[in-house]
């Protein structure tokens, strides 16, 4: 059995299946939805950080662009949600294309510039001068298309597509090429890899994933403020989940979301500052003692992790 088929059968189907039947057993619909969104975003970060080594600190910019792309299409054009979702992805891809010059920067410079870009976008959409277009800081309300069941299904479809893409990257020539670039761009280009093109492909895939996630998020919650969808916490949570699990694997980010977001919901909601304390300490400990994530505990013993 080819590895791709095996991973789809053993990872993608169980995860998507679990989320498909979960609403029937567990009543907190919003919580399940958030799990799906974070799983999607963590995999999106995995595509760009895990496979290329560029840490996008402004990743939430794509999420916000998707949310606003969706909302503005619904508000101004009265378009059906699925059309608006396509616009959400297009908005994120357009933003990704605009930001490609940032790849000229390396390491921390890239992360900082990307963060600045996301914050700049937040300042633009929340500017009171643009109230007639974006509703400025007063937030968006999409009561006309409010339909949590359908939005949940759409989010699940986005998650399935994302997982399929990551499984493909894990086993394909493109994924190998990207990891080669991450380790040593010069040697990779000498081996005949088009460094710039492959990097931009990964970047746009990652942007599109976040855009779709933002679109379904806007659809599901249907009432939100600019600060909600541009909150840097999305980037940070998704990054920490990915790192905790283990980058450049399919299963790492899934584990990260299940464990950490699970803990967050168990203790974080009632006592946020104590949770913040534990969380911060956990991140510090993680970076110092387990920089390659929990899957590295297995990898170190020579066990293959998909």
């Amino acid at each position: 059995m080819p590895r791709i088929t095996r991973d789809i059968l053993l990872i993608l189907l169980p995860v998507v299946g679990a989320f498909a039947i979960a609403p029937a057993i567990y009543s907190n619909h919003l919580l399940l939805f958030n799990f799906i969104i974070f799983m999607t975003l963590a995999q999106g970060i995995n595509v760009i950080y895990g496979f290329t080594g560029y840490l996008p600190f402004g990743y939430v910019g794509f999420f916000g662009a998707g949310a606003y792309g969706f909302s503005l299409t619904v508000m101004h054009l009265q378009a059906p949600p699925l059309v608006a979702l396509a616009v959400a992805a297009a908005a994120a891809l357009a933003l990704g294309l605009i930001l490609t010059p940032l790849f000229r920067l390396s390491g921390a410079y890239f992360s900082i510039a990307n963060l600045a870009a996301a914050l700049a976008l937040l300042q633009v959409v929340s500017n009171p001068d643009l109230e007639s277009i974006t509703k400025g800081p007063y937030g968006i309300s999409l009561s006309g298309v409010f339909n949590p069941t359908l939005a949940y299904a759409a989010a699940l479809a986005v998650l399935a597509a994302t997982l399929a893409l990551v499984i493909y990257l894990r086993h394909s020539h493109l994924g190998m090429a990207l990891q080669a670039i991450r380790e040593d761009p010069i040697s990779a280009s000498m081996a005949g890899i088009n460094v710039v093109r492959e990097r931009i492909i990964a970047w746009l895939i990652s942007a599109g994933i976040a855009g779709l996630a933002g679109g379904v998020f806007a659809w599901y919650v249907s009432v939100f403020y600019p600060e909600t969808v541009f909150s840097v916490e999305f980037t940070i949570f998704a990054t920490v989940f990915t790192l905790f699990g283990g980058t450049a694997t399919v299963i790492g980010p899934i584990l990260g979301v299940v464990i950490l977001y699970g803990i967050y919901n168990a203790v974080g909601i009632s006592t946020p500052q104590y949770f913040q304390l534990i969380y911060g300490a956990l991140i510090v400990g993680l970076v110092l003692f387990l920089p390659n994530g929990v899957v590295s505990l297995l990898q170190r013993r020579g066990i293959y992790v998909p």
């Binding site: 080594g53 920067l105 410079y109 600045a116 700049a120 001068d129 304390l277 911060g280 510090v284």
Partner: protein
């Protein structure tokens, strides 16, 4: 209006230089990104607040206290975190995440200790300190109140913060260029491996730079209630971004470029405030991206980076 914006921008620019200076010193010496920088500024602000509320110590007198306390915090923190971090595969990236975690811990502890309410120090405290100092020099009593420069009127607290920031920058300049330890620090900044090979105790130099970096953040924090508005445990993140904008405009890893960056930032911020106020908040981000793309090394940068 124009002169006013220019002068106010200069005062704020000096203050912004101070905000960025500690971050840049740490990046320059260790090549790690202290994402908790703004939270150390916040700690300095709270220290000044408590010294004033409990013992009515004037914020100007709190400056050395804040500096020494945070240097004392910084030294053990360095040995706890940084050497291990520098051994990892990609320290620059991992430092981002590590110090984000630290920033969460600091915010959480401060919130648990002090709650989330906004606090401030009466605005005339810095003016009083200024008047006291001026009275000593002038030999007669000087009244407190706004300060007049070139026909424009500014709050005394802005002037004091600006002058104090300029003084702090000057002291760091003297440290880096006139003392032996500063000489060693610059050697480590220039090339860490060669510094090790020369026999420099890199960890001692770095630990000191780390401590001084945090101390400078705390000093900036003492003036924060006067320059940035009321203080809360969550104020750090925004300050960190501003500090980044300032040091990237100047040049990452070059502490003196920070002064230029701060002044460019301060003046453009004030001009935006005067002429396009609703768009002023956009400025730091756009300036940051534009400068990174046009001159990735910053206005004063010389070294060529791998891109």
């Amino acid at each position: 209006m124009f002169t006013y914006s220019l002068l106010a921008g200069l005062l704020f620019g000096l203050y912004f230089s101070l905000i960025g200076l500690g971050l840049n010193l740490i990046f320059g010496v260790m090549r790690i990104v202290n994402l908790a920088h703004g939270d150390f500024v916040m700690l300095g602000a709270f220290l000044a607040f408590w010294l004033f509320t409990l013992f009515t110590i004037n914020p100007v007198a709190a400056v050395p206290v804040a500096f020494v306390v945070l240097v004392m915090v910084g030294l053990p923190l360095y040995y706890l975190l940084v050497p291990r971090l520098l051994r990892a595969r990609d320290p620059e990236m991992l430092s981002f995440i590590l110090f984000f975690g630290l920033s969460q811990v600091i915010q959480a502890v401060t919130t648990i200790a002090f709650g989330t309410s906004e606090r401030s120090i009466p605005g005339d405290q810095l003016g009083r300190a200024l008047a006291t100092v001026l009275s000593v020099f002038a030999g007669h009593k000087v009244a407190t109140g706004p300060v007049h420069i070139l026909g424009q009127t500014f709050p005394a607290s802005w002037v004091v913060s600006g002058i104090a920031s300029g003084g702090a920058v000057l002291l760091i300049y003297i440290y880096l260029y006139q003392t032996r330890l500063g000489y060693l620090t610059r050697a480590v900044m220039d090339n860490r491996d060669e510094a090790i090979a020369t026999g420099i105790d890199v960890h001692r130099v770095s630990a000191l730079a780390f401590g001084i970096g945090l101390g400078l953040a705390a000093v900036a924090g003492v003036f924060a209630p006067f320059m940035l508005g009321s203080i809360t445990p969550a104020m750090g993140a925004e300050i960190t971004v501003t500090a980044f904008a300032v040091i990237v405009i100047g040049s990452l890893g070059n502490p003196l470029g920070t002064v230029l960056g701060g002044i460019v930032y301060g003046i453009s911020y004030m001009l935006m405030q005067s002429y396009f106020s609703t768009w002023a908040n956009l400025l730091p981000y756009v300036l940051l991206i534009a400068i990174l793309l046009v001159r990735p090394r910053g206005l004063l940068g010389r070294q060529v980076r791998r891109a």
